[in-house]
């Protein structure tokens, strides 16, 4: 089903652009969760011919982790911290969107020779995985809040997962490696989250205290 895979790849690109162009934390979390869902569907599609229980379990588990558990954790963290829903970017939303398009063009340039080497089902998948990783990086670099940093890490991880999937046709073990990496990233990411978020609280609190003076 190359067409269906193509559509999923395009949707993944759109989710990335949504992540770059959105000004709301909640929307960004949804975009990253959507990426995970798309990737889960893609993982099933890639292995459609020899679908066995192991593949299904792995795909469902990783999707559930990334589209369900992690967003829930993040949302809870936001709610409890009382952080504002607004993202504070260093690079404006329209500008990051345009930078994203530039990155996409770059990924097309890098991706097409790569996908020529690999007999991937969808030539787009490699390009898109590169783009997703790049988007994650861009989000990390260009956003101020701790939560957006986590989202960036997650998007990068999604990109790596997609990259692994593009090769998984030849090497199914990679998929499992991807899941392992997932768990690792999840733990790692949450550590950073907790650290960064608590730091940001302090910051916010001092701000409020200083505002009391006048």
């Amino acid at each position: 089903m190359p067409t269906a895979l193509d559509i999923l790849a395009v949707l993944l690109i759109l989710a990335n652009l949504r992540l770059l162009g959105s000004s709301r934390l909640a929307a960004c979390i949804r975009a990253v969760a959507l990426q995970a869902v798309i990737l889960g569907a893609a993982a099933l599609l890639v292995n459609l011919s020899d679908l066995d229980v192991r593949v299904v379990i792995i795909a469902v588990a990783s999707t559930g982790l990334k589209a369900g558990a992690l967003p829930w954790l993040l949302r809870r963290a936001i709610r409890e911290s009382g952080a504002v829903n607004e993202i504070e970017p260093f690079i404006g939303f329209t500008a990051s969107l345009l930078v994203g398009v530039g990155l996409l063009g770059l990924c097309f340039l890098i991706g097409s020779p790569l996908s020529a080497h690999v007999a991937a089902e969808s030539g787009l998948l490699i390009t898109v995985s590169l783009f997703t990783t790049a988007t994650g990086l861009l989000v990390i670099v260009s956003r101020r809040k701790a939560v957006t940093q986590v989202l960036g890490y997650l998007a990068m991880e999604n990109g790596i997962y997609a990259f692994g999937m593009a090769f998984a046709i030849q090497e199914p073990l990679l998929v499992e490696m991807g899941v392992l990496l997932d768990v690792f990233v999840a733990v790692f990411v949450m550590g950073i989250t907790i650290y960064n978020i608590s730091r940001e609280f302090d910051h916010i609190d001092t701000d409020r205290l200083s505002a009391l003076r006048d």
Binding site: P2, T3, D6, I7, A9, V10, I13, L14, L17, G21, F93, T94, L97, L98, G100, V101, L104, G105, F108, S112, G123, L124, T127
Partner: protein, 304 residues
């Protein structure tokens, strides 16, 4: 097929005012009202054509020429658009550019007519129209370029004929989807619909198209209303051409299908207007840039 081509232009001229009627009925349905009659836009235009006129002392002939030229440009733009697989009367290599620039001409004359009144409100509307149009133009042209690459044709008629039904399910699907979304945003912008502009607000600082025509009345305003209907029809015809290529077969049936699809676009616009709020003004450019990005993405896919 010159006769078929002429028939389709006549169809457009005749049926275009139906589109706002359909949109209003859909909106009324969502709001639980019974809404104005389906033919209300016809009544409005006919009534306006029967009225006298009042002109501001500030205005000059530019103000009076605006509606006339705008309506003429809208009519000419219909002659390059195919309908339901019937090639247009003026189908040639590069007619898509004529189409895009005729829309530009319409905008230009509307803006100058608005500035002619010397009203701050109309100046503001003109400024915003120029701003959004500048952002919508790349989306339209890049989307058309993607279509041109996909179909190998530089003519709207050839382009829409070059699409086969198989394309929808075949490799062209992501591309067509992206272009369709981009063109939908262009359609909403060019026709001043929600989420870009609200056609129902008057006397508000946020409106764009309606504020530019505040001072027009009578016959002139009738022309403007009619031109707006034609423009909506034209962009809807462009969009349906992208979304659903003609299935082939008996021409009259195709044409009927084409008209039905355009009416379906009107229903879609009505639904969008019912379920969405107007965007904050500073957010609109972002939406338009996003449309350009979608078109560029489609182009990247097809050039890959």
């Amino acid at each position: 097929m010159p006769i078929a081509a002429i028939i389709q232009v006549l169809l457009a001229l005749l049926l275009a005012p139906l589109l706002p009627g359909v949109i209003n009925r859909v909106k009324a349905f969502f709001a639980g009202r019974c809404g104005p009659p389906l033919l209300q836009p016809y009544y409005d235009i006919l009534k306006l054509l029967r009225k006298g006129a009042v002109y501001s002392r500030t205005t000059s002939w530019v103000f009076r020429a605006g509606p006339v030229l705008g309506l003429a440009a809208a009519m000419v733009s219909l002659t390059v658009l195919p309908l339901g697989g019937t090639p247009a009367a003026l189908a040639f290599h590069g007619d898509l550019l004529l189409f895009a620039y005729l829309l530009g001409l319409m905008r230009f004359v509307t803006m100058t007519a608005a500035l002619d009144t010397g009203s701050a409100f109309e100046g503001m509307g003109a400024s915003r129209e120029a701003w959004f149009a500048m952002l919508a133009e790349p989306a339209l042209l890049l989307g058309l370029a993607a279509m041109a690459v996909h179909t190998g044709s530089l003519s709207l008629s050839g382009m829409l004929d070059g699409l086969a039904l198989a394309d929808i399910r075949g490799p062209g699907a992501p591309l067509l989807l992206l272009v369709a979304v981009a063109f939908t945003i262009v359609l909403l912008t060019e026709n001043a619909r929600i989420p870009v502009d609200d056609p129902n607000t008057h006397l508000e600082l946020t409106m764009i198209h309606e504020v530019m025509v505040l001072d027009h009345g009578g016959v002139d305003f009738g022309f403007i209303q009619y031109a707006a209907c034609l423009k909506l029809w034209a962009l809807a015809a462009l969009l349906t051409g992208v979304l659903l290529p003609p299935p082939g077969g008996w021409p009259p049936a195709n044409m009927a299908l084409g008209v039905a699809l355009i009416l379906a676009v009107a229903v879609m616009v009505g639904v969008i207007e019912s379920v969405m709020a107007r965007l904050k003004l500073v957010r609109v450019p972002q939406l338009l840039v996003a449309a350009s990005v979608l078109s560029a993405l489609a182009l990247a896919l097809v050039l890959r």
